[in-house]
């Protein structure tokens, strides 16, 4: 499936994600700054994280 484009966030702007999503991202080792948020106001939802983890773990680790 085509990957959603990387999130467009201003410099220094924190990714918008709920505490549960943030916690899962930490546990999965995913940097939320690189994940596209499909929710309202660009919020990163659980399924955005799932999609990233399923398809992009590699790129994520490589990209640092």
């Amino acid at each position: 499936a085509p990957r959603a484009p990387a999130a467009v966030r201003k410099e220094g702007e924190r990714p918008l994600a709920s505490p549960a999503v943030r916690r899962r991202a930490l546990d999965l080792g995913v940097d939320l700054r690189r994940v596209h948020g499909s929710g309202p106001a660009g919020r990163i939802e659980h399924h955005d994280l799932d999609a990233w983890a399923a398809g992009g773990g590699q790129a994520q680790a490589g990209g640092g």
Binding site: S18, P19, A20, R22, R23, R24, H46
Partner: protein, 465 residues
């Protein structure tokens, strides 16, 4: 002589459902007429939510004074606490007047035309309003909104009047009776029964079910039951009432069909409320009904095109905030917007002592719906703020799906928990998971920390228990 006017929307009933619909419609530029036969604000502001909470507050204050007179743990002493119930009622009436006056102002500001009188429906597009002055106005409309509310159910053996009180009478008592029998241990009967007990009245509650607040689960109502016993409210559960006479009082029959009498100067009959569907020509529309209430779909549409219905006339849950939300929903649809009334959760609060809040599904409801769920409770006995408020009874309970921890419901019982309903409702509407609440920093010291701890406990990570 009958005047005729034409409008886009005619709202019948100025309770929270009707007045909110009219305000929102007015804001959206819809020509709107609202007919109210009694008083703006409906049951809620005049003889329901607001006056009951005012009397409950006064009763709590008085009970505290009596507690201090008896010697409080805090070291505070007072003597000779007294209450002038006529003054209490005047104070309550002042609040009602301020709020109903406010609703009038809001309607005017929104450009709504208010007709003070009873509406009689002719057809789905026409009603005649009998104004208080004697004239009448025939209103033709494109959209007719029924927001006629509900009224207390009478017992055939004990019709309202004289010593037999409806909730309305109990909110404007002529005297404080020595003994009050409350028939019905639902939220209205218990809220008022407890208030009267705090005002120093001997209160006995008769309930047909085996439990108080029978529509709530037992774990949740247990702290209320304990408090009732401690407060000295006498309970007759599993009993029905057979009648009343001035000499013996209320005739009660228990499960073994034994009959006994409960002496009482006043009897509050609080056995439920019935949608107001008769006496104003509603039957002429031949709308589909669902039992006693008007049937509506997810858009608050009745079975007749252009006729909408909201609030208590559409059945349970009969709650003011549901009526208001439905009112908004209908107004926005008439303004051409696509809306549905489909909240995830409608909070229900009993302002008993302790208070009870239910938002979303209880553990039993979730399981009955076939959901695999976890639930966990955190007691206020382990909450520092509750201790400093002398209010350690009760708990917060959360219900969540086992697989993804999505929160399905919150319940709480305890002092002041009504104000936790905001967090409960928002978290369910937002689709929060246990981790979302458990990993949100909650202010210390607040009773709200029990919300976080309940979520953590469901995750096996509670800190303070």
């Amino acid at each position: 002589m009958t005047k005729e006017i034409t409008t886009k929307l005619l709202v019948i009933g100025g309770g929270p459902g009707g007045y909110v619909a009219a305000i929102r419609a007015g804001q959206l530029g819809i020509p709107t007429v609202l007919a109210e036969g009694a008083s703006l604000g409906g049951t809620c502001l005049n003889i329901g939510c607001i006056p009951s909470k005012a009397i409950i507050h006064a009763a709590e204050e008085f009970e505290r004074a009596r507690h201090q007179a008896a010697g409080s743990a805090l070291g505070i002493r007072v003597s000779d606490p007294q209450i002038d119930i006529a003054q209490t009622v005047r104070w309550k009436d002042g609040i009602v007047a301020r709020l109903t006056g406010g609703v009038g102002t809001l309607l005017r500001k929104a450009g709504v035309q208010v007709l003070k009188g009873w509406a009689q429906i002719e057809d789905g597009k026409t009603a005649t309003v009998q104004l208080q002055g004697g004239e009448s106005v025939r209103v033709r409309c494109e959209h007719l909104l029924l927001a006629t509310g509900s009224e207390p159910v009478e017992l055939p053996s004990m019709p309202f009047g004289g010593p037999i009180w409806s909730s309305t009478d109990a909110l404007s008592p002529d005297v404080l009776p020595k003994r009050l029998v409350v028939v019905g241990a639902g939220y209205i009967g218990l809220e008022l029964g407890i208030a009267y007990r705090k005002l120093g009245v001997e209160v006995t509650v008769v309930e047909a079910a085996q439990r108080v607040l029978p529509s709530y689960d037992e774990e949740l109502t247990e702290p209320v039951l304990q408090a009732l016993q401690k407060q000295g409210v006498v309970l007759h559960l599993g009993c029905s009432v057979a009648g009343w006479d001035a000499r013996h009082g209320v005739h009660v029959r228990n499960a073994r069909a034994d009959e006994f009498a409960l002496p009482a100067e006043r009897v509050l009959v609080a056995v439920g409320r019935r949608p107001r569907t008769a006496g104003f020509g509603l039957e002429s529309l031949q709308l589909d009904m669902a039992g006693r209430h008007v049937a509506i779909d997810a858009h608050c549409r009745t079975s007749m095109r252009g006729v909408w219905a909201i609030g208590d006339v559409t059945g349970e849950p009969m709650l003011a905030h549901r009526a208001m939300a439905q009112g908004e929903c209908v107004a926005e649809q008439i303004a051409g917007r696509n809306r549905r009334f489909e909240p995830m959760a409608i909070p229900a609060v009993c302002f008993t002592d302790p208070e009870v809040v239910v938002v979303g599904r209880t553990p039993g409801e979730a399981r009955a719906a076939g959901l695999d769920c976890i639930d966990a409770a955190f007691p206020f006995a382990a909450n520092g703020r509750a201790m400093t408020l002398e209010s350690t009874g009760g708990f917060v309970r959360v219900v969540a799906r086992r697989d993804n921890h999505l929160i399905l419901g919150w319940q709480a019982v305890g002092h002041g928990v009504a104000e936790l309903a905001a967090a409960f409702g928002q978290s369910i509407e937002m689709g929060a998971r246990l981790e979302d609440v458990g990993h949100t920093i909650h202010a210390h010291p607040t009773m709200g920390e029990a919300v976080q701890e309940a979520a953590l406990r469901a995750l096996g990570q509670a800190l303070h228990i």
